[in-house]
């Protein structure tokens, strides 16, 4: 079997890591939380870093009127199906397709990834900005606008007494690596075709 095919198939299969490992993690540090509160985001669920963390994040957040982190969101139904299809598609292309298809798969996956990140951003924005008008504590930005509590999409940010960290987890790293492999597979395939 051609090297490019093997790389393409392995690359696609690495996406299966998303069914095992979390995609993203948000961690909140504060002086009274020497063990920080954390939430893992999987493609199909939210989970506690330490038992009851989400419950305790909700409890903290209710003081500023933030909504509870929902038990589930519609995306958790869609994501696993999309990823499943993409893995299947990638493997089929790997076995049967032309190397040009590899690039096609990569572009499609990148587009889906960006859409996913955008969706995540929208949810975060809503989560951080749609606040209970009867919130116990209301804060304003220095410019007089209402303060939001949106966690960063990527990176670290101070929000009142908390420092919020938002970083990819092994599921995402496996996905990125897999996507890079499919991209490499394209060039390897191109070389092999000459």
């Amino acid at each position: 079997m051609k090297k490019s095919k093997i790389i393409m198939i392995i690359g696609s299969l690495l996406l299966l890591g998303l069914f095992v490992f979390p995609l993203w993690n948000i961690t909140l540090e504060a002086p009274q939380y020497p063990i920080p509160l954390g939430m893992d985001i999987h493609i199909n669920k939210f989970s506690d870093t330490h038992e009851f963390d989400i419950k305790n994040i909700n409890l903290m957040n209710h003081y500023v009127g933030m909504q509870y982190i929902p038990e589930t969101i519609p995306e958790f139904k869609v994501f696993p199906v999309v990823i499943g299809i993409m893995v299947l598609l990638g493997v089929i292309i790997g076995f049967t397709g032309n190397y040009k298809w590899y690039l096609g798969w990569f572009i499609l996956m990148s587009a889906l990834g960006i859409a996913g990140m955008y969706d995540f951003y929208l949810w975060e924005y809503d989560y951080g900005h749609t606040l209970d008008p009867h919130a116990i504590m209301k804060f304003k930005n220095p410019d007089g606008t209402k303060m939001g509590f949106q966690p960063p999409l990527f990176g670290t940010k101070d929000i009142l007494n908390f420092t919020a960290h938002s970083y990819p987890m092994p599921g995402a790293w496996l996905m990125f690596s897999g996507m890079m492999l499919t991209f490499i597979a394209f060039f390897v395939g191109k070389k092999e075709a000459k």
Partner: protein
């Protein structure tokens, strides 16, 4: 590489040299200034945010409780309520904890706690449970070292003054309970002056369940009517034996200070419990009627249950020949201590100048040779010379009370009368060092002291009198503990720290054995999912108020920072209102409290996931508030509610709301 090792060696050597030359070192042992004399301050300084290396569990004596300190800092972390009510924690006040203090004499709100001892596995303290005895109304308690709460209290029948207790064998097979005051066995109406020969002293062996830790009296040995003062288990080669010191072998019933001090020698009772265990397993002993309370705590229902037991198995010494012997020991011995090897049994003759050291090897030979010197009530008395290894040289001190050991073959003995701790070598019986203590020291503690593996860096001496050692606080001043560093040749006094009640006796253990290396071994919260309390609520939607005749049962929840429900109406004068309160938090270190104006009881302090109950019998009409008593959060001050109390016979129905709605109504 070689030069590197050499230079490290030289560096180490020079460090040793410098330390031994430091002038402070010698002063340290003589001066009473402790910290000022050397680098003692550094040795006890635990910087902010750092943790102590050891736990010290120091009995509260007449406070009835057990206090938890850190070593080397001497900081007090927690007072575990055991035998006395504690309104701060609601212990003995809440409906759930009241059964813990039930006895055959009814509810007893106070106790006199004495000798804590930690469970052991293969001769080392394992940090699972700590046992402690109550002297006044004879009881033994078991405290979990996961939750630091009292999980079990068992009453000891046929006993009075439960003093020579609660010491644990080296695999936690048994915890023992001895009798200080001999009494009629079973109790009966008789003339006190007929005591001699008619009283008995029960020595009880309580089997410990290896999984749950639950205690049950396996057998009671009906011993002659002496006073049994202290005890310790054999270990290593002497595992299977238990040794109890006795006083008042004169069997005096009045003015004991004179009449119980006539004999130059009293006894250490040596008991081969393995032999008695075998005898009992083969159907030996006699079940006799008794009446004693067995109280157990359940961490799922968060409730104690008290059961009265009606029978106990009694063993007569004469029925198990070869199992019990008396070893003559200098005058009214207090502590009865066994060294880490199990070979030496030390009788601390508190009214003698000398300490008696017996040999376990000699004891076995004496038994084989029948080297007896008569008997006492049928129990053979071993010839003194046949069992005695030697005595600690006269003039060692006055009034020896208690001895513990290090792993280097040394013993450390407290001397009450001369107020000092004396270090001596167990093998050659020579005194090596002595240090004043301030004042009138009772027991001492080396972490793991009652085991094969003492953790021998620190020694804590516990003093009955402090006089001028602290700022005066009126006629009653604190009692205290004094911490010594015993890692060097000379004992070095590091720290004085005050204690609660009377620091009667203590047990210590290295912190990692209790915390685990990652700090995860101790309980952080109780899981709501596992709460089986009949009035537990798992969410606010389940909270409610129900009337049953003149009883009103409130199933209430608490979470940062409100109660649910927090407005209740329909309660009437003459009702008995039960507050069954569940803390819905599942976060570490977020307890909430609750108290109700005019309630004739204590507050409740409720840990996350736990349900606890108090009662309130309103006597006046009006609108009465309740509130959270533990500063729980930024909105703690707002955590409050009202109950409307209407006149007797009023027809206002029960209603309950949170923010104007029936809790949970919105979600439906």
């Amino acid at each position: 590489m070689k030069t590197f090792i050499k230079s490290i060696f030289l560096f180490a050597l020079s460090a040793v040299f410098m330390v031994s030359c430091a002038p402070s070192e010698k002063k340290g042992s003589k001066s009473n200034k402790g910290a000022l004399a050397g680098n003692a301050a550094e040795k006890v300084y635990v910087a902010p945010g750092e943790l102590d290396s050891h736990y010290a569990f120091i009995s509260g004596g007449f406070s009835g409780q057990l206090a938890v300190y850190g070593l080397p800092s001497g900081r007090l972390f927690r007072v575990i309520p055991v035998f006395s009510q504690d309104p701060e924690k609601g212990y003995g006040y809440s409906e759930e904890t009241k059964p813990m203090l039930m006895t055959s004499h009814g509810f007893v709100p106070w106790g006199d706690s004495h000798h804590p001892d930690i469970s052991q596995t293969e001769g080392s303290v394992d940090g699972r449970w700590i046992f402690i005895n109550e002297n006044n109304t004879p009881r033994i308690a078991r405290i979990s070292l996961k939750t630091f709460e009292t999980e079990e209290i068992i009453e000891i029948p046929n006993s009075a003054g439960n003093h020579s207790s609660s010491f644990v064998t080296e695999n936690s097979e048994y915890v023992v309970a001895g009798t200080r005051f001999s009494v009629p066995f079973p109790q009966r109406d008789m003339s006190i002056k007929d005591m001699k020969g008619n009283f008995s002293g029960a020595l009880s062996f309580l089997k410990i369940d290896p999984e749950s830790g639950e205690m049950n009296i396996a057998f009671q040995i009906k011993m002659p009517g002496f006073n049994y003062d202290l005890s310790h288990p054999g270990r290593g080669k002497s595992h299977g034996w238990f040794f109890f010191s006795t006083y008042n072998t004169e069997e005096a019933n009045s003015l004991l200070e004179n009449n119980a001090s006539r004999n130059d020698k009293d006894f250490i009772a040596a008991i081969n419990w393995k032999k008695i265990e075998e005898y009992v397993a083969n159907g030996g002993g006699k079940k006799v009627p008794a009446n004693y309370a067995h109280n157990t705590w359940d961490d799922n229902s968060h409730t104690a249950t008290s059961v009265m037991k009606k029978e106990v198995l009694v063993v007569e010494p004469k029925d198990v020949p070869g199992a019990i012997f008396f070893l003559p020991t200098a005058k009214s011995p207090h502590g009865c201590d066994v060294d880490p090897t199990g070979e030496y049994i030390i009788g601390n003759g508190k009214l003698a100048a000398a300490m008696t050291v017996h040999s376990f090897t000699k004891l076995q030979k004496a038994i084989a040779d029948k080297a007896f010197d008569g008997d006492a009530y049928g129990i053979p008395i071993i010839k003194f010379e046949a069992v005695n290894y030697g005595s600690v040289e006269p003039g060692a001190g006055l009034g020896p009370l208690h001895t513990e050991f290090d792993t280097r073959g040394n013993a450390y003995t407290t001397f009450f009368i001369s107020s000092e701790v004396v270090k001596w070598n167990v093998k050659d019986l020579k005194v090596l060092d002595r240090h004043k203590v301030y004042y009138s020291v009772g027991h001492l503690m080396i972490p793991g002291g009652n085991s094969r593996t003492p953790d021998d860096k620190y020694l804590v001496a516990m003093n009955k009198i402090t006089k001028d050692r602290y700022l005066p606080t009126g006629p009653e001043v604190c009692q205290s503990a004094q911490l010594f560093d015993i890692s060097g040749e000379k004992m070095e006094l590091l720290l004085d720290f005050p204690t609660i009640g009377e620091p009667h006796y203590a047990a210590g253990i290295s912190a990692d054995k209790i915390m685990g290396k990652d700090g995860k071994k101790t309980t952080k919260i109780y899981k709501l999912d596992e709460n089986t309390h009949p009035y537990a609520v798992k969410s606010e939607a389940e909270t409610k108020v129900v009337r049953k005749g003149n009883e009103v049962h409130i199933s209430m929840s608490m979470i940062r920072s409100h109660f649910s429900p927090d407005n209740i109406e329909g309660v009437k004068v003459g009702d008995k209102v039960f507050f069954h309160v569940t803390n819905l938090e599942q976060d570490y270190d977020v307890p909430h409290g609750i108290s109700m104006i005019g309630a004739n009881t204590s507050e409740l302090l409720i840990m996350p996931g736990r349900t606890t109950t108090f009662t309130w019998e309103p006597k006046q009409i009006g609108v009465w508030p309740f509130y959270c008593t533990d500063f729980c959060s930024a909105l703690h001050q707002e955590m409050q509610g009202y109950i409307r109390v209407s006149p007797k016979g009023s027809d206002i129905p029960i209603s309950f709301t949170l923010d104007g709605d029936i809790p949970g109504a919105e979600e439906e």
